[in-house]
Symmetry: C2
Subunit: 139 residues, 2 copies
C-alpha cells in the first residue's frame, strides 16, 4: 500500500491529488515549484512504472508545468523556463520536481536542488500560490 | 528542419539515434551520462511535444537509463541511482539528461549539473562506455 514518505511533509503543502500522483507545493518562495509523487508502493525509478503509468506521469508533469506557470503569474513573477528533475538521491520514494525558473532567480542558470536555503513564503503569497496551483491542476 | 544545437558537439559523442531522439554520451568520466535531444525543430519545453512524442520520449528516457546502467557496469562502477533532468537554462534546445549516480561519486547526493569540472575519459574507458551504451540502445 502506498504511503507518502514523511520527508515530504515539512517541506511541502498538499495540492489536489492527480490521477496517478500526489501533488505538493514546495515551501520555498524562491521558486514556483511542485513535487509529484506517484501513488505506487516502493517505486524508486521510472523504469519500475508500467507504460501506462509512465504516460500518466508525463501528462501530470505537463499539468504541473502549467500549474507552476500559474503560480508564477499569480506571484507577479512569470516563469521563463521550466525545469523538471527526477533525482531521489536523498528521499528515495519516486518523485518528480517541476520548477519555474527566471533569469533573475537566485540559482539561475544552475539547478535548484541542493542550492542555498529555502525562503519562507509570506502567508498571503502562499495562499495565492496554492490557489493558483490548485485552480490550474483542477482546470 | 531539426538541427542539433552545436553546443552539444564539444561536450558529447554521438550514439546510435533513437526513434525520436538523438542520443549522445556526455564526455564526463565522473558519471555514465546520456543526453537525449528530440529531433523536433524549435522545441524548448515538454509541453510543446504531442502526446505521442511525449510517450516516445518517456520510452527513450527509460532506454537511456538501461544504457547508462550498462555503461556503469562496463566501467566497473555499477549505477546505484538514476537521475533524470530536463533543464535547458543554458542550452535551450529541448534535451533530457539521464545520469548514473553512486554514493561515492564526486557530486553525491547533489545534482551533477553545474557542479565541478568534467573529467576527461581515458580512451579505453571511452571506447568501452560507447560500446556498452550503443549495445544497450540497439538491443
Amino acid at each position: 500500500m502506498f504511503e507518502l514518505d514523511p520527508a515530504f511533509l515539512p517541506t511541502s503543502a498538499a495540492l489536489p491529488g492527480l490521477a496517478l500522483c500526489e501533488a505538493r507545493l514546495q515551501l520555498d518562495a524562491r521558486f514556483p515549484w511542485i513535487v509529484l509523487i506517484p501513488r505506487i508502493d516502493r517505486a524508486f525509478e521510472l523504469e519500475e512504472l508500467t507504460v501506462e503509468e509512465r504516460a500518466m506521469l508525463m501528462a501530470e508533469i505537463v499539468a504541473a508545468g502549467e500549474a507552476v506557470r500559474a503560480m508564477g503569474a499569480a506571484l507577479g513573477r512569470p516563469v521563463e523556463k521550466l525545469n523538471v528533475g527526477q533525482l531521489g538521491n536523498v528521499t528515495r520514494q519516486l518523485h518528480v520536481h517541476v520548477v519555474g525558473r527566471r533569469a533573475d532567480d537566485p540559482c539561475w542558470p544552475g539547478p535548484v536542488w541542493g542550492r542555498g536555503t529555502a525562503a519562507t513564503y509570506d502567508p498571503d503569497a502562499l495562499e495565492a500560490a496554492l490557489a493558483a496551483a490548485a485552480a490550474a491542476l483542477l482546470g
